[in-house]
Symmetry: C2
Subunit: 567 residues, 2 copies
Amino acid sequence: MLAASASLLNVKVVILDVGDHAPAKQIVAPLGPELAHVDGSFADPEKIRELASKVDVLTVEIEHVDATTLEEVRAASQGKQLAVHPSPSTIQIIQDKYRQKQHLASHGLPVSDFVAVESSIESISSVAEKLGLPLMLKSRTMAYDGRGNFVLRDIQQAQQAIDFLGNRPLYAEKWVPFSKEVAVMVVRSANGEVQSYPVVETVHKNNICHLVFAPLRSRDASLSQRARSIAENAIKTFSGAGVFGVEMFLMEDDSIFINEIAPRPHNSGHYTIEACETSQYENHLRAILSLPLGSTALKVPSSVMLNLIGYSSSMDEITKTANVALSIPGASIHLYGKSECRKGRKMGHITIVAESDLQLRTRLRPLLQSLPGSTPEEVDSYAPAFPARGPGFSDPNPLVGIIMGSDSDLPVMLPAARILDQFNIPYELTIVSAHRTPDRLVEYARSASARGLRSIIAGAGGAAHLPGMVAAMTALPVIGVPVKGSSLDGVDSLHSIVQMPRGIPVATVAINNGMNAGLLAVRILSAGIPRLIDAMDNYMKNMEQEVLGKVQKLEEVGWENYQVKRT
Amino acid sequence: MLAASASLLNVKVVILDVGDHAPAKQIVAPLGPELAHVDGSFADPEKIRELASKVDVLTVEIEHVDATTLEEVRAASQGKQLAVHPSPSTIQIIQDKYRQKQHLASHGLPVSDFVAVESSIESISSVAEKLGLPLMLKSRTMAYDGRGNFVLRDIQQAQQAIDFLGNRPLYAEKWVPFSKEVAVMVVRSANGEVQSYPVVETVHKNNICHLVFAPLRSRDASLSQRARSIAENAIKTFSGAGVFGVEMFLMEDDSIFINEIAPRPHNSGHYTIEACETSQYENHLRAILSLPLGSTALKVPSSVMLNLIGYSSSMDEITKTANVALSIPGASIHLYGKSECRKGRKMGHITIVAESDLQLRTRLRPLLQSLPGSTPEEVDSYAPAFPARGPGFSDPNPLVGIIMGSDSDLPVMLPAARILDQFNIPYELTIVSAHRTPDRLVEYARSASARGLRSIIAGAGGAAHLPGMVAAMTALPVIGVPVKGSSLDGVDSLHSIVQMPRGIPVATVAINNGMNAGLLAVRILSAGIPRLIDAMDNYMKNMEQEVLGKVQKLEEVGWENYQVKRT
């Protein structure tokens, strides 16, 4: 993928990898005898030197390289000015997860407690006493996709852990009972400028990255900014240029720990190819070539990446899922051209983009169903059917929130819900009373946008404060429905809702007209979902036809026989 | 670009082109001695036969191929089942522009008048008499990018035309005084299913495609549907699978003529790589491989493609523009890796995506300025500065329309305009009176969405019909501002605007509160431009700070000395 980005900029590339048909070599034709690709391992000093002799800038796509040789070729090249990115010292720190944690902790970055441990029952027991059980035992080097990790749940397992992890140097991490895993890609230029991509939610399966949702939705409006700034601060502490993946744990109390850092384009950034203004690959290139960094902004509302992991030695399962993806709008298939399939090997990935989280998860559903061994529960948890709980229940990925001050307002608000049903727009419906549940009001309004809502419909009667107070605590467009009470014919509610002071608007509709509130929400959403314009046009044409039908009926039966339907 | 798409699907590709370093060959490493790329011309029968012997499916990226040989290899392959797409007969019809026009006319598709003409002064004179002057003389074959075209403005130029066009078979076309050139990419599966991409506006310079804007904006809401259906119907008449570019002329009266058809991925479809759910290249592959066709929907609100045309034998001018593009958010650079630059040669292209037409044109401006020989007038016409005419004048790419029933409403509506200025949102401001200019009302409301507006703010007083009548004729969200008249304190306007019948909502704000109408428009736009959420959050924090400042001042000076500012 890095090579594909390079070709768009006329950047010539020489690859070091094993074999003549390694994936990257398939899409970079050799540049001629002088600049032929190198056949060998990225851990072989001789091969690294050979590659270094052919290029001006050398970068890595995996951190398990021979960083000592990288530093040696960089130092030896003073005349030629070979640039190596990220800097070999950065790779060395990151290669050793214990050193990585020490480095982060020493810069005041949030990591869970960790200590060095020896491969002995005594040492493990003493650490377990200190950090508690379960305890995460990790190999300091060459650990990825769960390899080199052991979860010690009982001190009796110590010998088993030693056998599993072998004689490699180890360290221990306090168990982190995270609520979610999140990640941020950060690009760093050689002069230390950093820029971060949106926060994503990552889902692992068998310790391998399975799904990546972008952007992250949360109840905590500050979370995204906090996670990005932790990630950016972490990457500022390293030297050299390039893209870095920062994997983090999100706790129940919304605090964040850094889990680990990858000094290269990362699986959690694959979605950027289709979903962002500049992909992580192009930004890696820009960074290591000292070109201006590209925009990291999302260009679509919602996206997800699904890894295609080998299930056996056959490509059949991969092909099956790819074939399903061919029929899913917004799905882009990336097969890596690896020569053989193996269980647990990353053979490709699929990215889906969508206008909303609901559309995204609807598009994702058949893909998850096509995976070997997928269970209905798993599919439902990441890609529920729509409507998830049947009519009359809130959708898990709402674009519109319908709230009312009292359950007695429900008859007025139901037509709004029915309109959204008719336009297949996901929504939630609940009670939020400004006067009786003020804390709930604050929490609801403040979290609305971060949770993914794009508009709120609020109904209230009498001294109808709900719509205006919600509008005061969210930047979203708020639609107010004045509900007619027992006195004043609803004029009290109307004036309470519409006569907002300068600075905070409420989009007010007619008294008791929940239906128009639903229709206004559809029109508002069309600012981000253009196909709703056509849908609304059709709705309006149908209304027109309905009235024209009545015109005809009036002609046919005469007005003396015409029955007026009252609704 | 086709080869790059193929690699994502693990589709193996063999290329026929001249030289070992032809662009496509740079990104498809040879598959081994048996399946080596072919070095030669796509017009050389021997080379076509060699390529055909190596593949299961053969396609072309240029129509000036030897179609006879293509048909021959296809027919000869009955055992092997070689598929050739599009079918050689389709290529033959399209290669000969006169036959192409006859074919289209015979299927009832709209083309301008045309007749065959001989290379003689007599024949040309007689045709000029019939079709009028100026007259377009065209070579029937091997004509593209304006080569093989001669505009006969005076009958005296007949000999000059004959000399210019040489001895090639000619035909003449009636002059088409088009207002715009538009194009539609259509993908056709082998079984005849067609799907079209959005209509784009194409801008030519020196007869070469210069800019492509997607989607097309127009005053005529039906235009897009009409153009797509003409393009789809045209492609249904041909045989074989693949992507086709349909170039059309749009006339002042909104009628449409087909100009010509390209039987392959086309320059006017390059934008699809970044801007659509499936690119024209991937859809061409899907079509010729009999895979399901991909979604042709836009995934971004606005996009433009700029061709990078060689200006001299040096790449310097191209490099200069590409360097400018590196600093433009949303710009993707595609350099083709062609070995030498020539004046008029397509060396690459740049696609920009954006959240709105204004942002798009603002991003495009520095690119156009960087082109050799660009004039300020040219730059201004395609990428005006913002605000285009200074404060107090309508923007040419408005997202919001501010309209009022009478110029006396201006003081109430100005605060809405000032809010949009503050948020850098492009808008137009004008007078539309429901009662005094009803036709203008209809035209304004019906064209609003096709012109690119996403919301309308309408202010009116008394029997305030404007907001509701506009809402009845557009699917956009309409914000109503009740203007206080000389009697009833504005309650008449408020009730006229807010009490809309079920089916047609108006988002009503407080009496005389144009400012809140502006703020509501910003909130509505945030449904499609998420960064406006942050901008509105900041705005609200500033308001909060302002009030907190007053709290402090009250403490400091005491309420007896506090001066209340009235606004």
